[in-house]
């Protein structure tokens, strides 16, 4: 069955390519260049072979889940590896086509033919970019369709992605310590213990205050209770759950403790274990609420001879609401849209670096970018050091100003690279988390328009200043 799906997906891709090649969009040169690139990708075998590899890889996905007994686990594995495979192949092919197409035209002299045509110097790069978008779409669309079908095949129902909801994860507000809270805590502590806190440097005092508040906000003492406020602007929907993973310090995983959860007017006592995740459905009375407060009371260990002083929330996902929002299918589509947007940037980057670098170096450049971006941009690599700790008397020297500016620039670039990772959503989709429209719009604005736009403008600028005539007979 998956083999048949792969064959059908390949033919769907062929159909899409043929439709574009035979389209009658003849009014602008940019579309002709785009169509030529697509014809190049198809007739030179990049798309047929690349597509075959992509679809065969997807057809092999069910082999990965043969050992998994639960349908939800099979679905998660297929979605996770499937999206990873699609992203890898599509981005790889896009970058190779982007670098290969332009470099080939420059080397063979075809660029001369293009550049002497009226107005085409400005339409070469955008036209090729458009062609690459079309090429990546012809791969992405059938591949996504095939992934949906395979997901249905390995899980309980063929329409599992349409029926199962995606969930939005909502963290509590209390775990986020605000600067105002730190200042208030610090002022109170200085009143209480002026000798102890007064001798501390202000920065140091702030750091200690933040550390204590953070620890306090993330723990519930035995016999005590903490209230957590959750906000959800569109109102909590039916099926919302409170999910939490308590940490009980050195207590063994087998040790049980009791916790009482207060949700609105109702309360519920539950048994918990160290480090295990629990889910509690919200009462129907809270459906539609935009703000709720959930109280968590820690009652201590079940066994009397065991002493567990507190329960802690470690990690960003230790306590959160899971609110159903849209279908799993819609979130998968949004995630694939984000992948297409990333392809758009890779296409722009490949084309731009190919205007001044040869094929091997240009491809290497794009791969280096992908590695750096996948590393999260190493954010914080250029963080400013504490003035008190490292005071440099030469910091106003011109050379230091230049170095500082370079460091700031590097920091900015790395922090921008982190944006790439924020829009890689495949693992979240596999875990059933929602990818929102605002995330897609944010990806479109930052990666699709800002990054790709700036890169394309740079490419156009370089291209407009480049001589293409290096005739042998001169």
């Amino acid at each position: 069955m998956p083999v048949l799906m792969a064959i059908l997906a390949w033919f769907l891709m062929a159909l899409l390519v043929t439709a574009v090649l035979r389209s009658r969009l003849q009014s602008a040169s940019i579309f002709s260049i785009a169509r030529t690139l697509l014809a190049e990708g198809w007739r030179r075998g990049v798309l047929p072979v690349g597509g075959a590899i992509l679809f065969v890889g997807l057809a092999l996905l069910p082999l990965l889940v043969e050992d998994a007994s639960e349908a939800s686990a099979r679905l998660q594995i297929v979605l996770d590896y499937g999206q990873l495979w699609i992203a890898t192949v599509v981005i790889l092919l896009t970058s190779l086509m982007a670098c290969g197409s332009l470099c080939d035209e420059i080397v063979t002299g075809r660029m001369r033919f293009l550049v002497v045509q009226p107005g085409s110097r400005w339409s070469v790069l955008p036209g090729k970019w458009l062609g690459l978008l079309a090429a990546s779409f012809t791969l992405l669309f059938p591949a996504t369709l095939m992934l949906v079908l395979i997901s249905g095949q390995v899980s309980s129902s063929n329409t599992v992605l349409m029926e199962s909801p995606a969930v939005s994860l909502v963290p509590p507000e209390q775990l986020q310590v605000t600067p105002e809270e730190i200042e208030q805590y610090l002022a109170f502590q200085k009143l209480e213990d002026p000798a102890g806190w007064g001798r501390l440097d202000h920065e140091e005092a702030l750091r200690i205050a933040y550390s204590r508040l953070d620890r306090l906000s993330r723990s519930v003492m035995r016999g005590g209770r903490s209230d957590y406020r959750f906000s959800y602007s569109t109102g909590l929907s039916k099926g919302t759950e409170l999910a939490f993973r308590p940490s009980m310090g050195r207590a063994h995983r087998s040790q049980r403790a009791r916790m009482r959860v207060h949700m609105g007017a109702s309360s519920l006592e539950i048994l918990i274990r160290n480090g295990l995740r629990f889910r509690v459905p919200l009462p129907e009375a809270l459906e539609g609420e935009r703000e709720i407060v959930i109280g968590i009371e820690f009652l201590g260990a079940v066994d009397e001879d065991v002493r567990i002083p507190s329960v802690n929330w470690s990690g960003t996902d230790a306590i959160q609401l899971r609110v159903p929002e849209g279908s799993h299918l819609s979130t998968l589509i949004r995630s694939q849209l984000l992948l297409w947007i990333r392809c758009a940037f890779i296409a722009a980057l490949g084309l731009t670096v190919s205007t001044f670098l040869g094929l091997p170096v240009a491809t290497l450049f794009v791969f280096c970018f992908l590695i750096a971006a996948a590393g999260g941009g190493f954010s914080g690599a250029f963080e400013e050091s504490n003035d008190a700790a490292h005071h440099d008397h030469g910091q106003d020297a011109p050379s230091r100003i230049v170095l500082d500016a370079l460091a700031e620039g590097g920091d900015w670039i790395f922090s921008q690279l982190a944006t790439w990772n924020q829009h890689v959503t495949g693992d979240r989709v596999a875990a059933g988390e929602v990818v929102t429209n605002s995330e897609v719009l944010s990806g479109l604005a930052r990666i699709g328009l800002l990054w790709a736009g700036v890169t394309m403008l740079t490419g156009l600028w370089i291209s407009s200043r480049k001589e293409h005539g290096l005739g042998a007979d001169r």
Partner: protein, 317 residues
């Protein structure tokens, strides 16, 4: 040497080059090759102009500067009153590159469609123009074959067709007969003459001097990046100390009488011999006979006359 009696100051000057210099530099901007060293050219509307010179003389560099592919190091260049490389000038120039560098994965018809699109030919006219040009260059039967499968001569023909598709005022042909068979060479020369009659300006760069001699009104001979000679073909080739007569074949008695009369008049007869056809004429006749007898070929067809849409600059709206 500068002989330029065919230059007509009343005619519109479509290409003007003054003191053009081009120096190629390496990555560190050090001068590498001084390709052009002060070239002056003036090409008028409706003439066929030849750029001649050995390899490395600067012909292709000059053409590529006129097309905006290379930027001049010094001097001024004007094409149809605008700097080279502007959309206004490019829209009125058709260019046949020296090498057939067209997309090998496109069919002949697709290639012309791409050229028409890039040349801003209105969509409603494209189909007709493509069909006319394919017929003109004799490739109507190969229209849907990929260019990569074409012979070198067929690629040259599709190159000529793409240069004409947007009905340019100026046609720049870099080695136009390169790779063509004698029939194709003859056709190209006929097309050039027809284009001149339509008021088009044609600039030809070629090594084949006989071809240039037959179609060009004026030529410039380049060497070492400089114009060494320029002027009309007749004046460049004229010899004041020789006269050539071509007559029907006389008998020996008549020849003897003529020779005697020349000697009495003090005119030296340098050579007298039988008339002969050129190899080109003989070849064309042979192929024509084979075609008439029903022989077929997988290559280019006979080709035909210029299509009607090439109205010439005079007929432009």
């Amino acid at each position: 040497m500068a002989i330029d009696s065919k230059f007509d100051p009343e005619q519109r000057e479509v290409i003007q080059v003054r003191g053009l210099c081009k120096t190629f530099r390496d990555f560190w901007l050090r001068p590498r090759v001084e390709a052009l060293r002060g070239i002056d050219l003036s090409i008028q509307s409706g003439e066929v102009y030849g750029l001649l010179g050995p390899n490395g003389s600067g012909k292709s560099t000059t053409i590529q500067i006129l097309l905006g592919l290379l930027f001049p190091s010094a001097g001024s260049v004007s094409v149809l009153g605008t700097p080279p490389g502007t959309p206004q000038s490019k829209n009125r120039i058709g260019y046949l590159p020296e090498d057939s560098v067209f997309y090998p994965f496109l069919t002949g018809a697709e290639m012309l469609d791409l050229s028409a699109s890039l040349g801003r030919v209105p969509a409603r006219e494209r189909k007709g123009r493509i069909s006319d040009l394919l017929e003109m260059v004799g490739l109507q039967d190969a229209a849907h074959r990929e260019i990569g499968d074409y012979s070198k001569g067929m690629q040259r023909r599709i190159g000529i067709a793409q240069a004409l598709i947007h009905d340019p005022e100026i046609l720049i042909l870099d080695e136009p007969t390169n790779g063509l068979d004698p029939i194709g060479v003859r056709q190209v020369k006929d097309w050039i003459v027809s284009l001149r009659k339509l008021g088009k300006t044609v600039l030809i760069s070629s090594h084949l001097l006989a071809d240039v001699e037959q179609v060009c009104d004026r030529v410039s001979i380049l060497y070492g990046g400089k114009v060494q000679a320029s002027g009309s073909i007749e004046q460049i080739l004229a010899r004041d100390d020789r006269t050539l007569w071509t007559t029907s074949h006389p008998d020996e008695a008549v020849l003897a009488t003529v020779r005697q009369n020349f000697e009495e008049a003090g005119v030296e007869v340098i050579s007298v011999g039988p008339g002969s056809r050129s190899l080109e004429e003989m070849f064309l006749e042979t192929v024509e006979e084979a075609r008439d007898s029903g022989e077929t070929t997988s290559g280019a067809g006979m080709g035909g006359q210029l299509p009607a849409f090439l109205g010439g600059s005079e007929g432009r709206s």
